[in-house]
Symmetry: C2
């Protein structure tokens, strides 16, 4: 008897494993379908439904099937059992049922009104993954890839505008959405759809902050394919990347904003605490991310110079790079900061320093690895969003709330883009034209981040309503705006980069803005340029030589009395090859300036549009030392000044 | 008040996320340490501790720290609560504790004697992952990589021997270990360490089958670095790969062997049912794995020919390849077969057909991706093994049982290798020398598979004792045998492949065995050769042209009346380029034969020993069409016969 029982248990366990396999298989199947569809679409140059839209569609269909075809075998769940002996919920619960002890693991706290929602079937429950999987596993590769593949030259040329849109714009968007939603909530209370105490202004702001995270993956993929104007591309890409970071930290700050007494009243102390939290978390995450990248750069640099051929082990290099970058995320999370922000800046810093120390093989490996992970993670998330519409069991769809959200999102996007563009145009030499503004307005898609933030906590009724609404907004924007990108570009007459015309124009414009930059009187612009020039000089003179093999040797940049230390810190190779190195950097740069524009115009960007996701051109990353803003001139000074300095050392 | 409660809950949830981050961070940290150590070791050519041994060591230390430094904050666990209302354990339990509903998820059934073991702290419990993660996520990439990187030429040359060791050898090993352990168990019962009814003969056989899975990762890595004789390498690699598959299916079959009455008595019906199960599961898994690979080959082939440039989207290709291969594993699991076996043969088939259809970029991407995943998964498993020694809470270390296992594993390995080698040498032209046999005996390390099989179910006391013992055996064999590989090779005078000597010898031996193969009277060898030649002909004439771009066009191999179908199935490119293609294949092969041996002798294998894990040389895989056994001759016939056939068509 005892024996028999044991084997039954083994068989049960087997059944359990197969269950896990079935769920993973469903996702695999959806992803395979998505990939095959993308192939088909790419072959027929069909651009109305992007891969992310397709992934959502397949997820939706699969969710429908799981919901209505599979049965509900688990009758017992849904019943609430009493336990008087317990005072609080322990993480593990041992329960004696008919003389057999079972172990149960704590999952979450449930509001009383949600209890009925749990009468669903076991399959639905298993298809719902733990939100922590989103945050710890699926989002980091996407965000890291965004940072790693940032087109630094163009990004820094538009840095001021991007920062304005990202910080000020997101704050405006958050507040506008919050206010509009508060109006709708009041109306809902008025007509009796909602109880007064359920929805506070902070909840509305919370919704505002999570709906402010834009994710123009679809739009940018199409831009990339059509070779749309690089400045518009960079503005949108930069804005959305930083925007996500800002929105996440904002959401975090709002969720811990807790006024002592009346939650509807404005509590100045709590407000400033929130602002402080925001700044602290942002700065801390930034520091955490960059320091991990600096450590990676140092390790790879050390190995490159002190030990024998590092490039013999590209796998170890890649592994270390991958693990340290992920650790940046995890450490920030563990420290109570925002991992997404940390991993974003980690990506940027890795591309700036570590990338230069990698062997050519590792450069390619890391790029391909992160590209691949980004691709998979993105499609898994979009599939899951489709699934969630039917498999999530506590949806609350309130038509008024949804309509309110739609209005709010539009108005907020307009209140972000148009006034800020107007202000920025006052300062910019190269104005942001009207049609670019319309395109930016149109590209305010909501995606993975908004969804992930909304699903993080779906315990109370307001949270469920916000989650369901956010999900619908993602569907709407991805399908409607994503699908409408190509017609919109035509309608707004935004040309793609043409052969022989743009490169010259661009170069002239650059030269003009270059010569004029000293005379520029606008504060914002001048400040950022000034700040930026200082940073560039510091980076080029001290950080780059310390962390990579590029830049002048430290012996020439540090004061003379530092020479012993400088010699110690400079690698022998860098020391010897430096002059030659500096020259080649200069030569490459000059070639680059023309070649880069030519090639992007002539050829349809070789082998890079494989996924349609955002990618920097390989070249861009190699010569990342020089930055658009003022870089051209500084470069000349540097190469001219170097032999002289070298002879001094 | 309500508000306050909500924010408290949000903070709790945050804390929960950070917990997940901390656990992952610990693993990341261990892996980073391991990689840095490997680097150091590789630089100092220190071969006594391999990366896997290092990973285990770090895991061990970390486990020690977690165990004795972290506190036990969760006092409530360890208490068993009664619940009279429940009849069985539901998958989700809702419990009302002080007017708040908590959701608990079913984890497992626990024996009464284990209840005390659960008084450990929450950190220990969180560091213990679900065994299904091993099976669904960590093992598949390792096994797939083994199949994908199989050196087919040498593998097929030694196919007969490898199959004998894998099937017959594993069966012998399983029975010998089972019998010896049964003796020890009887002795333990005799001296009162164990109760009679606890440990059955089937349990002993179960232990025997799981301990029969050898994992010579460490040894092979060192072989690879030292360029040890390719035949010995192939024998060991092939044996261990198939051995794992056999052991897994054997374990599965034994676990479902359930004699009706007395579990100690031999039940012929149940036994034959188990044998039937074994064969059925093995064959089914094989079929599942290969058919997924064939589907992948067909898709990539279709896209290569019917649609426009597939090679423009290497990411999609890689993604599809990855997902379909993983699906092979998951489908087999979902169908109640053995996923590991499926994914192994999927890997072999993918390398044989699909690899030829991939664009050069995808070829490299897939290789690097699987290499990387293999590397990470392997090190995670070994780190986890180290951790498990201290974090697993129900260890039962019985000195007598452990000693018994040590003896049994040795005796069983000897009973596998020496008699089978003797039998095989009767039939082999190229005998397996004495020192190779000793080396194979010495290389019987236990690793990931044995551990994963043992941890799959650790509910009863016998299972816990087996798990603890298996873990110790892994430690012992990896550290002692793994560390002793280099001295052992020297002691046994196994030369590495030397410049200018071995290649010629090898070629001559090959030519000799080639010309003699027809005269060979030994049944096993002749049979495998005969069977093999038929398979090769079929594969070359029909499957290759159908699934890839290599081989002759179908129009020339199918009978004349099939021509319309053949034309339909043959891609225009293959049809047109075939003659040229056939020639280049021949040329490449001839170059290969010499170049391959030369390069492996002259240069220290460029960029491939990055991890020390088993990798085929790139070349080997590219020209995988020709197989060692008879391939040389058939190739000549094919290229000679082709123009003639082509003119017929």
């Amino acid at each position: 008897m005892e024996k028999f029982k044991k084997y039954v248990s083994v068989k049960d366990e087997d059944h359990f494993y197969h269950q896990g396999a079935v769920e993973l298989l469903i996702f695999n199947f959806l992803l395979i379908l998505t990939i095959l569809t993308i192939w088909l679409f790419k072959n027929h140059r069909f651009r109305f439904l992007h891969e992310t839209g397709g992934a959502m569609l397949y997820g939706l269909v699969m969710g429908l099937i799981i919901r209505y075809v599979t049965k509900s075998p688990d009758v017992e769940s849904g019943t609430v059992y009493e336990c008087e002996k317990l005072k609080s919920g322990p993480s593990t619960l041992l329960i004696n049922i008919t003389n057999q002890v079972y172990e149960y693991q704590y999952k979450r706290e449930i509001s009383h009104h949600n209890v009925n929602g749990h009468q669903g079937n076991a399959m639905l429950q298993k298809m719902t993954f733990d939100p922590s999987i989103f945050f710890n596993i699926l989002l980091p590769p996407i965000i890291f890839h965004a940072g790693y593949s940032l087109k630094k030259r163009h990004f820094f040329r538009n840095l001021g505008s991007i920062l304005t849109y990202a910080f000020l714009g997101t704050a405006i968007s958050c507040i506008v959405i919050g206010l509009i939603m508060y109006g709708f909530v009041k109306a809902m209370v008025h007509i009796g759809q909602l109880k007064q105490w359920e929805f506070h202004f902070t909840d509305c702001l919370f919704f505002g902050s999570l709906m402010s995270a834009t994710d123009p993956v679809t739009v940018l993929a199409i831009f990339h394919e059509l070779n749309v104007d690089t400045d518009l591309y960079t503005l949108l890409f930069g804005e959305s990347v930083l925007n996500d970071a800002v929105a996440i930290v904002l959401t975090h700050s709002i969720s811990i904003y807790s006024p002592k007494e009346n939650p509807n009243a404005f509590d100045a102390a709590a407000f400033f605490q929130s602002v402080g939290n925001f700044l602290g978390i942002f700065a801390g995450s930034f520091a955490m991310g960059s320091s991990y990248a600096v450590v990676t750069a140092l390790i790879s640099f050390m190995h490159l110079t002190k030990f024998t051929k590092l490039c013999e082990f590209p796998m170890l290099e890649t592994g270390l790079f991958f693990l340290l970058s992920w650790s940046a995320f995890l450490s920030a999370e563990a420290a109570g900061l925002t991992g997404i922000v940390a991993v974003l800046f980690c990506g940027v810093t890795q591309a700036h320093y570590t990338y230069n120390n990698l062997s050519p093989d590792s450069k390619m490996r890391t790029k391909q690895l992160f590209e691949f992970m980004n691709f998979l993670a993105e499609n898994v998330i979009f599939c899951y969003m489709g699934l969630a519409l039917f498999t999530f069991q506590n949806h609350i769809f309130n038509p008024l709330f949804i309509f309110g959200a739609l209005v709010a999102v539009f108005v907020a996007r307009a209140a972000n883009i148009y006034p800020l563009s107007f202000l920025l145009n006052l300062g910019r030499k190269q104005k942001i034209p009207r049609n670019f503004q319309h395109m930016m307005m149109f590209s305010g898609l909501r995606g993975a981040i908004a969804f992930a933030l909304a699903i993080r906590d779906t315990n109370s009724q307001p949270q469920q309503m916000m989650f369901s609404t956010a999900l619908l907004m993602v569907f709407f924007t991805v399908w409607v705006f994503g699908g409408g990108t190509t017609p919109m570009l035509t309608w707004l007459q935004i040309r793609s980069v043409l052969v022989g015309v743009d490169p010259d124009e661009d170069l002239k414009a650059k030269a003009a803005s270059q010569s004029a930059s000293d005379l520029d009187k606008n504060t914002t612009k001048a400040e950022s340029a000034w700040l930026f020039r200082i940073w560039y000089g510091f980076d080029h003179k001290y950080l780059k030589p310390l962390l990579t093999h590029t830049g002048p040797p430290l012996t020439s940049t540090l004061p003379e009395w530092c020479n012993p230390i400088a010699r110690l810190l400079t690698s022998p190779t860098a020391y010897g090859d430096q002059l030659k190195d500096g020259d080649t950097v200069y030569i490459i740069n000059n070639d680059e300036l023309t070649e880069n524009y030519d090639s992007s115009a002539h050829t349809p960007v070789p082998a890079q549009d494989s996924t349609g996701s955002i990618q920097a051109t390989g070249k861009e990353d190699i010569q990342e030392g020089d930055l658009g803003l003022g870089g051209y001139k500084l470069q000349l000074q540097h190469t001219a000044g170097q032999p002289q300095k070298n002879s001094l050392a």
